[in-house]
Assembly symmetry: none
Homo-oligomer: 226 residues x 2
Amino acid sequence: MAHKVLLVEDDLDLGHLLKQYLEINHFEVHRVFNGQEARAMLEQQLYDILILDVMMPKEDGFTLAKKLTLQYPNIPFLFVTAKKMKEDVLKGLKLGADDYMIKPFDADELVYRIHNILRRTQRQVIQVPEHIQIGIFRFEPKNLLLISPRAQFALTEKESQLLSYLYQNRGSIIKRTDILNHLWKEADFFNGRSMDVFISRLRKHLSADPTIEIESVRGVGFNFKC
Amino acid sequence: MAHKVLLVEDDLDLGHLLKQYLEINHFEVHRVFNGQEARAMLEQQLYDILILDVMMPKEDGFTLAKKLTLQYPNIPFLFVTAKKMKEDVLKGLKLGADDYMIKPFDADELVYRIHNILRRTQRQVIQVPEHIQIGIFRFEPKNLLLISPRAQFALTEKESQLLSYLYQNRGSIIKRTDILNHLWKEADFFNGRSMDVFISRLRKHLSADPTIEIESVRGVGFNFKC
DNA sequence: GTCCTCATTAACCTTTCGTTAACTCTTCGT
DNA sequence: ACGAAGAGTTAACGAAAGGTTAATGAGGAC
């Protein structure tokens, strides 16, 4: 289940952007515009983390955080600020902020920081498995799974490695020797034949989506079109 | 009692300065110069937090952190770097770094960040669950008990640790080497066989609930489905 | 000392999957 | 059009991984 984030941000654009980005990253985001609304939301349900803008018209983030932590001492929180002032950062940290982001900031960094805070805070990290969408399939390299709407295949490790490699180099010609050197460490005749068997197996797996093709380029290698 | 900090920093001046500053702020600081020394210290005693320089001659901080977190998954760590590169920061956070300081940095800020990390970490300690529901079983890690409606097994310490680890990582593939590094501290052949024996025993214990499965993934590890 | 407990090692068996083999189809140079 | 070589496909093989049970032995309790 997704982690719940309460985002307190008065800036319309940034707030919207943040919400969207966090949602892409599988967080459930509720967005409010000021401290009063934040309190109302917190009363209704539990959140996993609180993201606060420091600069807000009615009540600044610090004051709000101070009050909220009195009532909800265990909720992790993180400040976002436009000001690049040392005093502000220190003030936030002094209040016990779990972290601090200075605008303009990198959205990926924010996501990682949230994850790390939650990992420390909650016992169980429910990690969204890394996945790649290939046509109608969802490919989870770490779990060796190729999932289509109808069925689910368990790939072997080597099948998975090969599919990953093809995917990483999709859309252009991949040399046979490159695949062999990369996955077999030696590009001799027998390994080449072995690879052909794997290609054949992958093609069978992927045949459920006719838009996907592992096109072979005679004498050179393959072109993974997806 | 003072919190124990293990500082891994090869730079003589910065290392000395940091140590002094942290000691002024009532931390107990042990300072080492490379990964090997760090490992030796960690084996001897528990630390509350690890501070790592990213740039070190023999082994960089990232590689070291990756290895150490396998063996000591709960220790909070924080990177220090001179490089002001976004990639570095992201790399560190991806590894699960609790925080990141960019040189030159403010020493007060570092102290606050350490305090906040510790506050977060200790919060977690309180949350160690007394019992976990796994299918029809109630698992009490502390009491080494696995209780089903019909019977009650007394697990050994290691069985319990393994079950905890599997449970914490349930639902996706857990690498053999990760389990071994975590519970056996060494991933050699014999420990691997030993682990297989434990897996077998856990399977026998858990067989009363057919919805639970420790699926093995050849060449990779296990997937605990429950 | 003797008796337990429990992790490890050994021994034996089963299963898996990368490789090899065998046969076919396709491509391309002559 | 023919032959050779590359590639596709399927089946079979066998080494290595893993499952299971029993034996071993180290360490603690009494």
